[in-house]
Subunit: 432 residues, 2 copies
């Protein structure tokens, strides 16, 4: 193999024929693999099976002086033991914690919905402001497609800023928040989706120092992968809440966590935090919205996961399952794509994704070629607002769900497709 | 005992002294009882304990070809087997069912929120309409305080119509819906909260025949007590969806059910339905809001409760627990209050409440006297919009949570308080 960047016409055509042949062989194998979503595999889900057998008798369901099977309406914002459990995940005092149902996305959605209907910090509701002109959210990209979907759902305009090696481009963020129409920013600060980047201390400091023109600006700090290390050491993430609190500005952030990828993806527990005033308003709103979220599931989680120390031990078991899958992908990328010099990618130390940048203008084609050979990838563009990657180059790889041998096959095919699409672009001839 | 209505001054004063003495004796007993909320007692919650032990192995959690512990995002609107389970509760085709989390109140809240932000039937969002003048909901009263709380939360004006023996005053409802600002009505059509009334066939027919001025008018049909019979036979409720569908008007209703009072009050499963278009829009919105509600709990419910026939058998066990409590209250009301002719009450054949009308102007005082003697009642007025009962006469009795002997004590005290407050009003002298 050799760099694709310095080939002459004949070399490129020959390489294209060779790669196309390999691709056809793979396609003939009739793969049926999916690297499209960040889903824990069955082994990982089984790691928490004990949780489902822990509480047996009616007495087991008693906690904090209440029967968790029943309403306990005053505990609407969460069982006290669950609030204590989640406080260190969120990095906030227990009083600021709201424990929800099974979905942190739902908590985020509801937080945006409250901005729309009720507004924040005494400002007009976002819906009312929207009638005079679009309100906007900053979307570091590549980012999480479901964040972008929530924003789009509410008719909020999305403004992209680039994700770098230390987090979002903070020069761009600081510039954008001067616009009073800018009301929020989506962040996955640790092992970011999909780049795997952890925001540097300087980045978090700059977030804490933001002075947005809009009083109702909110940082949506989705710390989805806060304990999701792949290796023995953890990336360090500065505590946004504490940094904000130094200047009494802690109302500016909503912080979210979830056990979706600690226990059960569809049956975990989510929690959020805000400043004291924001948390009080959310608790009041939640007490109108529901008599309470499922406290039996909160209790199961507390009893099984116990505390941060135990959670870290539990996460090591997850890492043991998925680290080889990440490494299988990275090895294949390195073997096939490093020599060709047509792609770059991240080497995350945690989280659920590898972000791959292919030759600009070829990402859609790569995903199409993968699909035609039985490997489903996240749609190209999904990591950008409105599903539009301006350079058509980013592909999110989700290596956790298939087995290691499947991942090896899928990664091999993916790399062939990256090469083939690049060669098509270079030669101007579609191979297939 | 004798009628309080025909007493002379001396008789009234003597009766007041006698009742005050009895009240003081009760108060000295230091009761600590709660008849304020419709909460199943522990025996009832234990009836479903088997559900929590039914699914053990990872394989037990497989259903409809998916691992319910994981995302299964395409099943965002509910496990297919859960949709099939809930369809007959809702009286709609399976396709129109959305299975949610643990709270039907949350589904109702979210439905109102969608009206506010997105609007219905192509009309402007309610929030935008509200900027030009209040939008309104019709609130049959006495009714459910948490419905009223949701309406108030969103700044929607509440217009009261009286609840009668066959449902809401439909003449009033038909008149009110001529106002295009009227956007909805709250209904608990079977064993209504708190009157226990089941809407008659004629009432439901008139609902189905409503021709509101507002295209975005919606009936919020909270069928919370659809299978909650106290006796061997069930009140018959006409199927609103089918009646609406006759004229192609099924988009006018949102229908809700919940297992809160079938399985676990805080850990049940809720479901809703709408017309085909509405259901499709809700499913789309839900798919933005969450990757999915907890499907393990949906599966537990389907496996344990199985089908309508089995649910009816299960509900007979609930009835056996709570029927004696209803009867203890009714017997005491009859013994103390029938002769005095100062109160009237409902004798529900299902649901969770008895609605008591005391001498106008005395309900608050009755609740106050009860509290002073250690019996907590639902705050007087709670059954009316804004917590204001214009005649100050309605008291909601929730007899399910305390034991039979506690209920006997509580009902005895309540009746004493009703008599004492009436006598205070008649004599013009506060006894205490």
């Amino acid at each position: 193999m050799f760099s694709y960047l310095n080939m002459n016409g004949g070399e490129a055509a020959a390489e294209q024929r060779a790669v196309a042949r390999l691709y056809e062989q793979s396609r003939a194998a009739g793969l049926k693999l999916n690297m499209s979503r960040g889903i824990p595999d069955k082994t990982q889900v089984d790691l928490s099976q004990g949780m489902l057998e822990l509480l047996k008798t009616p007495e087991d369901y008693m906690a904090d002086g209440t029967d968790t099977r029943s309403y306990a309406a005053p505990m609407c914002a969460g069982l006290p033991c669950a609030k204590a459990f989640f406080a260190p995940f969120l990095g906030v005092p227990e009083d600021n914690v709201i424990v929800g149902g099974n979905s942190s996305l739902n908590l985020m959605h509801d937080a945006v919905a409250r901005g729309m209907v009720f507004g924040f910090s005494g400002c007009e509701p976002w819906a009312a402001q929207s009638l005079r002109g679009k309100i906007k959210f900053i979307c570091p990209a590549p980012g999480y497609d479901r964040h972008f979907a929530v924003t789009e759902h509410f008719g909020i305009e999305m403004v992209t800023v680039p994700m770098g090696r230390h987090g979002p481009d903070m020069d761009a963020v600081e510039e954008l928040v001067k616009d009073p129409a800018v009301k929020g920013i989506w962040c996955v600060p640790k092992y970011s989706n999909p780049t795997g980047v952890t925001y540097s201390k300087e980045t978090v400091e700059r977030f804490a120092s933001l002075r947005p023109a809009a009083d109702d600006f909110r940082i949506f700090w989705d710390n989805a992968y806060c304990v999701h290390d792949l290796y023995g050491t953890s990336d360090e993430l500065a505590n946004l809440y504490e940094l904000l609190a130094r200047d009494g500005r802690e109302e500016m952030a909503f912080i979210f966590v979830s056990t979706a990828k600690i226990s059960f993806p569809g049956a975990g527990v989510a929690a959020m935090a805000a400043g004291a005033q924001g948390a009080a308003r959310i608790k009041k709103a939640v007490s109108v919205q529901t008599i309470g979220f499922d406290k039996t599931n909160q209790l199961r989680h507390v009893r099984f996961l116990k505390d941060m120390e135990n959670v870290h031990a539990h996460m090591k078991k997850h890492a043991a399952v998925i680290r080889p899958k990440f490494e299988a992908v990275l090895n294949e990328l390195d073997a096939q794509l490093t020599p060709a010099e047509i792609a770059s990618w991240t080497k995350p130390r945690g989280g659920y994704f590898i972000s791959l940048d292919v030759l600009p203008g070829t990402a859609k084609r790569v995903v199409e070629l993968c699909a035609a050979a039985g490997v489903q990838m996240t749609p190209a563009g999904a990591t950008f607002p409105y599903g539009i990657d301006p350079e058509d180059k980013n592909i999110r790889i989700a290596p956790t769900f298939p087995s290691v041998s499947e991942i090896e096959q899928a990664a091999e095919l993916l790399c062939l497709c990256v090469r083939l699409a690049a060669l098509e672009k270079i030669t101007g001839v579609k191979a297939l």
